[in-house]
């Protein structure tokens, strides 16, 4: 139990929640599976906690080629939703590979995207960490860094983003809808996550008081026949990804017409593998094409002492994910 106490406010209306949320030291509480753990470990100490879990933002709807997932939808409900299962199996795969059944019953889609990193230095208030405590340094860079990034790291932070769902959504070019007391805006999912700086490393680009209200995916059903989420981990379940790959293909007349690839566990954001994608277009879904995409995926990787194994792992994971996606019909 934490010693720090906070004011708990249960919001019933969005406008009310947004006006409370803009106060300094306020935090939104959705499923609470991340926020409350961080609070217990004294890694965050909000003054006001605005419980938004009861806001009417949990609907999952499909209209035309557009799927909208309310930010308050529970992960288990998203994964079990018939429209998501039929048209966006990649999202179901990624969710069902996340956490455990109990956590998924509580955790929300919006909260999942905003969960903090699992870097072990971040999780210990006694250790140096720029992400938690800007300017304090980075314990992981020269310390234990098996979990660290291959791409986009800085001298200030080398932590990965932990969400599986975000990797699948990045591959599907999802957008998020954001509201605040001063209005609304849209953001491409990949723009939600900044790269780390030299002394700071915020987990998201949301401004204080902003709330994610929905996730939108447009025109992604065309990938449904050929998509897969591959998550590699040390044990069979209930572990964050060592490396993961979301792959989605559109195959037309035996040729890859479109390719989407995003990797998890390798950067501070879901890492889109643009060069691999480009190299696949116009080719038949063959072993050679997949192998070439795998090689391109690891170009520019910058390993640290403890995580070089992720380079061949990522290459092979891309190849395996493409094989699986290519095989389906």
């Amino acid at each position: 139990m934490s010693s720090a106490s906070f004011n708990y406010v249960r919001a019933t209306e969005l406008t009310d929640a947004l006006s409370q949320g803009k106060r300094p030291g306020a935090a939104y509480l959705a499923g609470g599976t991340d926020l409350l753990q961080l609070w217990k470990a004294s890694l965050t100490a909000p003054q006001d906690v605005i419980d938004i879990s009861r806001l009417p933002l949990a609907d999952i709807t499909r209209a035309g080629d557009r799927l909208v997932i309310g930010a308050m939808a529970r992960l288990s409900d998203v994964a079990a939703h018939p429209e998501v299962k039929a048209g966006h199996p990649l999202i179901c795969d990624a969710i069902l590979a996340s956490a455990s059944g109990q956590v998924r019953n509580l955790a929300t889609a919006g909260g999942n995207l905003l969960q903090r990193t699992r870097c072990p230095y971040f999780s210990d208030a006694g250790l140096a960490c720029n992400k938690r405590d800007p300017g304090s340094g980075c314990g992981a860079r020269d310390g234990e860094n098996r979990h660290a990034v291959l791409f986009g790291g800085s001298s200030g932070c080398v932590a990965t983003h932990a969400s599986d769902l975000a990797v699948a959504l990045a591959a599907l070019d999802a957008e998020i809808a954001i509201s605040s007391a001063s209005g609304e805006r849209q953001l491409a999912l990949s723009d939600l996550y900044p790269l780390p700086g030299e002394t700071t490393a915020p987990d998201s680009s949301l401004r204080p008081g902003e709330m994610i209200t929905a996730i939108r995916i447009v025109g992604a059903e065309r990938f449904a026949p050929h998509s897969t989420y591959l998550k590699i981990r040390d044990r069979a379940s209930f572990e964050f990804a060592v490396v993961s790959v979301a792959a989605a293909l559109r195959i037309e007349d035996g040729v890859i017409a479109e390719a989407r690839l995003a990797a998890g566990g390798v950067a501070s954001l879901p890492w889109r593998l643009g060069r691999s994608e480009a190299a696949l277009i116009g080719r038949a879904p063959t072993e050679q094409a997949f192998a070439a995409a795998g090689e391109l995926a690891i170009e520019g990787a910058r390993p640290l002492e403890g995580n070089a194994f992720k380079i061949p792992l990522l290459r092979n994971a891309v190849i395996r994910a493409l094989q699986t996606a290519g095989d389906q019909s």
Binding site: L127, G143, L313
Partner: protein, 721 residues
């Protein structure tokens, strides 16, 4: 003695929440305690500024080294009497307050000032400072039989390899807790301990008070695995001092994070092993172990000890050395010594089999030790060859040639096997049985049930001896008001309580028999005592058609019931005519993804021979639990120290991986019943056997699957590349 499948005596109490764990004791006026931890891993505590903390709500009380100055100096009190900082997170004070959150808030508000010194946080920074301890447990640290140097020089094949094992933490479900108070000069201590009498003795020593004035209770334990022992004592003492200072009951419970630092660990090892063979027979073994211990205490696992026993070999040299680091102190952890030791030895045997081009199972059979070569005496019993045979058959080891490296889906299949062993030991024990007028039986012994089935075993032994059904039996344990029982460790509780309960029930039987036979009014009057048996709640004549209910026999003599005590002294294992050892053969099938290097255990078969099995249901659960722990050590568990700060990283179950259900395969357990004439009741310990051997079996299977020999634990994705 019968073997019977009896469900856990306390099972219903536990699953319905009626079993009260000691940390749940909530006396009136209870204060809650929190520990203030050192932010550095080496130095000297200078001062504590609690001025702000004491102004907080809940009237926190601070307990420090100054309060502990009144305690008698000993290893158990040194950390709270002396101000040296030995490891990161070492408690430097305790705060007690009206609520847990207030205590924690106050603990955080205390300013600790420490003169820090450069710390040594990794064993491999100081291998040159390794030193030899005198003993490893009850064994000498270094031994030499024959001349291994010469024999290695003359061997046809020498296999020389290094193996390493990681630090593991015990992590019982129930964290350590104490709820304690003083009644005048007497102390009542409800706490998680694997040794209530040991705990009482150490409290008596520290507080310089008569043991009779101290009552220690541990009626249920949510696991221990070796960590509910001496490292907990200093923090328990501080809680007792807080209670004395405030004149209120005090409760301290460790957090999961503190379970990584304060109560022990399985030490890391680096093991150099050399095996010499002539004609497929071992002619030499050298096993050299370096392991970590802390700067405030010394512990060495008996890692190389079992290398002295397992195989027939004329020339064996073993050695243990320790390196002191500013890290938490190790203690025994389930399968101490055998788990890391068999990983090295049984991996090396597999490597040798490969080089010799013979089946690993055959190599082991060829090198079977038919007697204890270290002590030059026979085994009390040894059914290891039977374990190999039964295990191989049930597992289908013969299919190895065709199945190895075959692919099922994405998995490359590998078969591996290894041996496990653990000595059969016994401690002093007293037990009391009381038959009441209504025919119910009370069995009492001051030992503990770690969750492994001691309640059931104790009740079952007594019930069987008197021919009573289990539902007539009440078992009491975990209280120093009861007769002195053994500590729970080393897999020897059942072996120790058996002879004590047997002695007590024998006395009762003798008295009851004589009441019946000496009373002409009894249907058994005048019958020869040897003709009588106790069964179905009666004393019956075996030869004739006569019998009398126990309650009726009892009523002939007394209306108060009868009581008897049994006692056995400690065993001097060195002086026994035969060496008692339990054995097992572990066979595993694993799958390795050859491109993604994930490893999953698909199937485990363990064939164990550990004396007479009292209750196959409990035994099976012990073996499976042990094997799961072994899978964790083989593939998942690793406690990592940050080199710079000395802090343990990832102190939670998110980071410290243990097997989840999806990692647990089908377990096929075979139990080979032994008739051991040397051991009382023929009972050997079983709790450790499952947790050793499996690590090497898995490493051997990985090699079988993908041709990659991994000589470190845990075996992770990156090791299979």
């Amino acid at each position: 003695m019968k073997d019977r499948t009896i469900a856990r005596y306390e099972g219903v109490l536990k699953v319905t929440g009626q079993a009260r764990y000691e940390g749940e004791t909530s006396p009136e006026g209870l204060l809650h305690a929190a520990l203030v931890e050192s932010p550095v891993s080496c130095g000297e505590l200078e001062s504590l500024d609690a001025s702000w903390a004491t102004a907080l709500r809940g009237f926190p009380t601070l307990v420090t080294h100054d309060d502990a100055a009144s305690l008698k100096p000993s290893a158990a009190t040194s950390l709270i009497r002396e101000k040296a900082i030995h490891f990161h997170g070492q408690p430097v004070a305790l705060v007690a307050a009206a609520s847990l959150s207030e205590a924690r808030e106050a603990a955080k508000a205390i300013n600790v000032s420490i003169a820090a010194r450069t710390a040594l946080t990794q064993m491999d920074q100081a291998l040159d400072q390794a030193y030899a301890p005198a003993m490893v447990g009850r064994f000498p640290a270094a031994t030499r039989r024959g001349d291994s140097t010469r024999a290695l020089g003359q061997a046809e094949l020498v296999v020389r390899r290094s193996y390493t094992t990681a630090v593991n933490n015990h992590h019982p479900m129930e964290p350590h807790a104490v709820v304690c108070w003083w009644e005048g000069k007497k102390a009542v201590v409800h706490t998680c301990t694997q040794a209530i009498f040991g705990t009482r003795a150490i409290i008596a020593h520290a507080f310089e008070m008569p043991p009779a004035d101290i009552r220690v209770l541990a009626r249920y334990l949510g696991g221990g695995f070796g960590c509910k022992g001496q490292l907990w004592w200093p923090w328990m003492f501080w809680a007792m001092l807080a209670s004395r200072k405030t004149d209120r009951p005090v409760r301290l419970e460790l957090s999961r994070a503190q379970m990584f630092t304060l109560v022990g660990r399985r030490q890391e090892t680096t093991q150099d092993l050399a095996l010499g063979f002539v004609d497929g027979h071992l002619t030499a073994i050298e096993h050299d172990v370096v392991a970590q211990t802390s700067t405030h205490a010394e512990f060495s696992d008996s890692t190389a000890v079992y290398t002295r026993f397992l195989y027939a070999c004329p020339n064996v040299t073993t050695r243990h050395r320790l390196v002191r680091t500013n890290e938490p102190q190790p203690v025994p952890m389930r399968a101490p010594g055998t788990a890391p030791g068999t990983f090295a030895l049984e991996s090396a045997m597999d490597e040798a089999a490969e080089l010799l081009g013979i089946d690993p199972l055959e190599l082991r059979l060829n090198n079977f030790a038919d007697h204890d070569q270290e002590n030059g005496r026979p085994w009390s019993s040894n059914s290891l060859r039977e374990c190999y045979r039964v295990g191989a058959e049930r597992f289908g080891w013969a299919e190895r040639r065709t199945r190895s490296a075959a692919k099922i889906g994405r998995w490359k299949i590998g078969f591996g096997m290894a041996t496990t062993l653990y000595p059969a030991i016994r401690q002093a024990c007293r037990a009391r049985v009381a038959l009441r007028a209504d025919g119910s039986l009370l069995v009492q012994c001051g030992t503990q049930d770690m969750g492994s089935g001691t309640y059931t075993a104790l009740g079952q032994i007594a019930a069987d001896a008197l021919g009573l059904p289990m539902d007539k039996v009440t078992v009491e344990l975990g209280d120093t008001d009861l007769p002195d029982g053994p500590f729970s460790g080393g897999s020897q509780v059942t072996a120790s309580i058996f002879p004590a309960v047997d002695a007590a029930t024998s006395k009762l039987r003798a008295v009851l028999t004589s009441i019946a036979t000496s009373d002409p009014a009894s249907p058994l009057g005048g019958k020869p005592p040897e003709d009588l048996e106790f069964a179905d709640g009666m004393i019956r004549s075996r030869s004739g058609n006569a019998g009398e209910r126990l309650t009726d026999v009892l009523a002939r003599a007394t209306s108060n019931g009868l009581e008897a005590e049994g006692e056995i002294p400690a065993t001097d294992h060195q002086k026994l005519a035969a060496t008692g050892m339990g054995y097992g053969a572990i066979f595993v099938e694993i799958g390795v993804d050859p491109e993604l290097w994930e490893i999953r255990v698909r199937r485990v078969c363990g064939a164990f021979a550990a004396g007479h099995i009292l209750n196959p249901l409990l035994a099976r659960s012990q073996y499976i639990g042990g094997l799961i722990g072994g899978i964790g050590m083989a593939l998942h568990e690793e406690t990592v120290t940050d080199a710079t700060t000395g802090s343990i990283l990832g102190k939670s179950f998110t980071d410290y991986l243990i097997p989840v259900h999806a990692d647990m395969p089908a377990f096929d357990i075979a139990m080979i019943d032994e008739n051991d004439p040397h051991l009382p009741g023929g009972v050997k310990g079983i709790g450790m056997l499952g947790t050793a051997g499996i690590q090497a079996a898995i490493a051997n299977a990985v090699n079988d699957a993908i041709g990659k020999r991994v000589r470190k634990l845990p075996i992770r994705i990156e090791d299979c590349l």
